[in-house]
């Protein structure tokens, strides 16, 4: 008695089909799973047995062999519970029709036969559609997520018994539909808004420039100056995600099992702020069965690293490749996995170890060498990928109460979107989409300056003792400022503003 059920598994962000073969033969009662299963799958035997029995179905007292093919890839997770159970039911003739071969089946079982949600549904459904599978049977909680893929029959089930009845033709299950367009036409709301931040207008402006040109930002300020508050609001002025971007982000969250239960599609730009004790694998992704790390979870969004210099050195080093390529590759002996990781990095740090260097109200107790040492924890190559430095001073209570309400995120966003459109137009046919990604040659091509502006930049480099590294950064940032101003050529005012965003290059610090 042999049966075959189609299922699928995820490796990285890609899905591959798995055939669950069940063979029942006479012999001593036994239940074996082969095909490189992990512990969760081994334990699946107990769940499958109990749930079949508790669903008032018959569990054969025979020798059962389950093979997960292809047999040479390691498989993990409890999502094979349902296919194994249905395979056994089919092999014992409790499922009478051949309907089962048209569907791909996923689901974790609980001991009473109820179904629980599984991870990675979206990549699996996308791949199923590609392979021409007719439909997919899966736990009801995952149904909406799978329904994002158009042209796939999505059959939600709540109980093993329900699945059995469906495959026996005793019960109709309506396919779940999901109207992408209607969801996407609505405006996306954030709980936070820039208007809630009082004062700090220059930081808001710096973040507006950063959002427009895709620049990474380093915020420097004493404790309690509002760095986190400001960073959290950056996603609210970034342009809305397109459908493709949204699906890409959802895939990552689906695989990581972090999709919010009420919304199947991630439509807001993610904001992640891992603590500085994070491990390298936690940040970049990895593990025995690789999972996306924080940098991938902030794909198309914002990665906020508070206490930037306190992050382990090797964790910060790991950021370098993704910041350059927009993806991270995790290599294992047998294969390597690539996760997308295109994010805006916002680092926040204190100006010195005690935190009050340059503060108006409290004296700093650090020696210049200590300050240099603290700043030196961020390596040069990493600093090279940060275009904007902005100091966030602490405001007095009095100043906070006097400050007026700020501008709404919505208004800032409109300007950002306009600047982004100009950039997309400019970089048509090139591999880049925003100013921050320009390579030296492209900077030369696209950053044309008026004579005044050119003179000013030279004077500034000389007189303000800016490092050579600054030169290209100032050009890139001033390109974005000019775009916000809708100017073709970079003018003197644009350069002058950009110079304000290079605090750390100045010798103000000792």
């Amino acid at each position: 008695m042999y049966a075959k059920v189609r299922s699928a598994a995820v490796y990285g962000l890609e899905s591959y089909q798995v055939e669950v073969e069940v063979d029942i033969s006479s012999g001593l009662p036994n239940f074996i799973i082969v095909g490189l299963p992990d512990t969760a799958i081994q334990e699946s035997r107990e769940r499958v047995r109990s749930s079949i029995i508790n669903s008032e179905l018959e569990f054969p007292l025979k020798r059962i062999v389950v093979n997960l093919a292809p047999a040479d890839i390691r498989k993990e997770g409890p999502s094979f519970d349902l296919p194994i159970a249905l395979g056994i039911l089919k092999a014992t003739g409790q499922i009478k029709t051949n309907l089962i071969k048209d569907y791909l089946i996923l689901g974790e079982l609980s001991l009473d036969g109820k179904l629980r949600k599984v991870d990675g549904t979206l990549p699996i459904s996308l791949q199923a559609k590609e392979k021409g599978v007719k439909g997919i049977v899966l736990p009801a909680q995952n149904a909406l997520e799978a329904a994002i893929v158009n042209g796939l029959e999505v059959k939600p089930v709540n109980h093993l018994r329900e699945a059995l009845e469906f495959f026996n033709g005793e019960k109709e299950i309506n396919s779940v539909q999901f109207n992408l367009e209607s969801i996407f036409s609505g405006n996306i709301q954030y709980e936070l808004d820039f208007s809630e931040v009082k004062g700090q207008e220059h930081v808001k402006r710096a973040l507006e420039v950063a959002a427009s040109g895709g620049h990474n930002v380093l915020m420097i300020g004493p404790p309690g100056s509002g760095k986190t508050m400001l960073a959290q609001r950056l996603p609210t002025i970034l342009p809305d995600l397109s459908l493709e971007e949204s699906i890409e982000v959802t895939k990552i969250y689906s695989v990581a099992g972090l999709l919010p239960h009420n919304s199947p599609l991630v439509m807001r730009r993610p904001f992640r702020s891992p603590h500085h004790t994070i491990s390298v694998a936690g940040l970049a992704g990895g593990g025995q069965y690789p999972r996306p790390g924080e940098i991938s979870l902030s794909h198309q969004g914002v990665l906020f690293l508070d206490e930037f210099p306190e992050f382990p050195k090797n964790a910060l080093q790991v950021l370098r490749q993704p910041l350059e390529d927009g993806k991270v590759t995790i290599s294992r002996v047998s294969t390597s996995i690539t996760y997308p990781a295109m994010f805006t990095l916002i680092g926040a740090m204190n100006p010195c170890p005690c935190g009050y260097f340059g503060d108006r109200l409290r004296e700093c107790l650090c020696s210049p060498s200590k300050i240099n040492q603290y700043r030196g924890k961020i390596s040069g190559p990493l600093m090279d990928r940060i275009d904007i430095h902005v100091e966030v001073p602490r405001l007095t209570k009095e100043e906070l109460t006097r400050a007026s309400e700020g501008e709404l995120s919505k208004e800032i966003k409109e300007r950002v979107e306009k600047a982004r459109r100009i950039q997309r137009e400019r970089f048509k046919g090139l591999k880049i989409t925003c100013n921050a990604q320009m390579k030296p040659k492209q900077i030369k091509n696209f950053c044309r300056l008026t004579l005044d502006a050119c003179n000013l930049l030279e004077k500034a480099i000389e007189e303000l003792r800016l490092s050579a590294r600054s030169y290209d950064k100032i050009l890139k940032v001033s390109r974005t400022i000019a775009d916000l101003d809708e100017k073709e050529v970079i003018e003197i005012g644009h350069i002058a503003e950009a110079i304000q965003y290079r605090s750390l290059d100045r010798n103000l610090w000792v």
Binding site: G199, Q200, E201, H202, K204, R205, G221, P222, P351, F357, G358, D359, R360, E363, S367, P368, S369, N372, E391, P393, L395, E399, R402, A403, S404, L456, K459, A460, E463, L464, I481, L484, I492, G493, H494, A496, E497, I499, Q500, S503, R506, L508, W509, V510
Partner: protein, 369 residues
């Protein structure tokens, strides 16, 4: 001078160095000290037998010509008390250093200068003043003497280097040791354009007790000492009291009574130090009348007609005499932050304002009459 090596020899033996003044009184010449026999040394009653033995042993070990050659190779110059190029002002003080190690040739033709000293933890305000006064004084040819410490000292040297670069840094350690370390670049620049001077042997670390000794050289080299920002127990006050002992002028920049760092200069003024507010005051106090008018003319001549935009003038007016934070500035103008930020850069490049850590801005005195 051929007695150079004997001066160096006396310096190299700590037992002699410590008592060099008594020994010079007795023996008059370093050469005679160096060649004095056991009996002569014993007769001075300055040493016990143990020390005499040590001195004689050490004298045999030291090869003076070799030591001189070593200094030459390391490009360290020496000036001895008997050298005609030894600074005249310094010679006048009680117990002048018998031997000075130096780098940079300024000290050899040095005539007179002004010491600018102050707190290591100076405020931006103090630093800007130190730098400006140093720049103006040095623009009329006055040498700036200071101690290369953090804060005011550093700003004074930097201010001087901006103009003709006549500045002397007096160290509290061996000439080969850079302290504080962040001043490495400044050390090199001073050695090139001015002079680094110390009485300590190469390799001596900056011990705490070295600094008062150094301070007597700072004041000794100068016509007067200007104190800008000093706490109540600051080393700058030690320099000022040396200046009094050495019959030199003491000047101070007053400050708010609420500022801890103004306590030093304010107290000095209370005790009778000259209150000064700018470079002309300093020159006037030192009796350098001709330089006062020279400075005035020069300022008039050099003043480039830089045109200020109306808005730039508004920002300057708003800044006034205080340090203001970026947030205060942005709040008080209704213009776009981007515009104000670019105007601030312009003002900074034109030299009207300075930026300090924490995005604080301060007005400079450039262009003021």
């Amino acid at each position: 001078m051929s007695d150079e090596k004997y001066w160096l020899g006396c310096k190299l033996i700590p037992e002699i160095d410590k008592k060099i003044w008594f020994l010079l009184d007795i023996f008059k010449e370093p050469q005679i000290i160096w060649k004095a026999g056991q009996k002569d040394l014993a007769k001075t009653n300055l040493f016990d037998d143990n020390s005499i033995e040590k001195i004689i042993r050490r004298r045999k070990e030291i090869d003076l010509s070799f030591e001189l050659k070593k200094l030459k190779e390391e490009k360290i110059g020496i000036l001895t008390l008997s050298d005609p190029q030894y600074p005249k002002l310094l010679k006048e003080i009680p117990y002048p250093p018998p031997l000075l190690f130096y780098q940079g040739d300024l000290i050899k033709k040095y005539e007179y200068g002004v010491a600018i000293v102050g707190s290591r933890r100076a405020t931006l305000h103090g630093k800007v003043i130190a730098e400006e006064i140093a720049t103006e004084l040095s623009s009329v040819g006055v040498t700036i003497v200071s101690g290369l410490a953090r804060g005011i000292d550093t700003s004074a040297h930097q201010g001087a280097l901006k103009e003709k670069g006549k500045t002397i840094g007096v160290l509290g350690c061996g000439i080969d040791i850079i302290y504080p370390r962040e001043n490495k670049k400044l050390y090199r620049e001073i050695a090139e354009k001015g002079s680094l001077v110390t009485e300590f042997l190469a390799g001596i670390p900056p011990f705490q007790q070295n600094f008062p000794r150094r301070n007597r050289i700072i004041s000794g080299l100068s016509l007067g000492v200007l104190v800008i920002e000093a706490g109540e127990k600051s080393g700058a006050l030690i320099t000022a009291s040396f200046a009094l002992d050495q019959n030199r002028e003491v000047m101070a920049i007053p400050g708010s009574i609420k500022n801890k760092l103004s306590a030093g200069p304010n107290n000095l003024i209370k005790q009778g130090a000259c209150l000064v507010k700018d470079a002309s005051d300093v020159l006037e106090n030192l009796g350098l009348k001709s330089l006062v008018s020279f400075l005035k003319e020069k300022k008039l001549r050099d003043k480039e007609p830089i045109q200020l935009q109306p808005f730039e003038q508004k920002i300057l007016d708003f800044l006034g005499e205080e340090t203001k934070n970026i947030d205060e500035i942005l709040r008080s103008f209704s213009e776009d932050p981007s515009f104000v930020l670019s105007q601030l850069t312009m003002l900074e490049l034109k030299g009207y304002i300075r930026q300090a850590p924490g995005k604080n801005y301060i007005r400079t005195n450039y262009n003021e009459q």
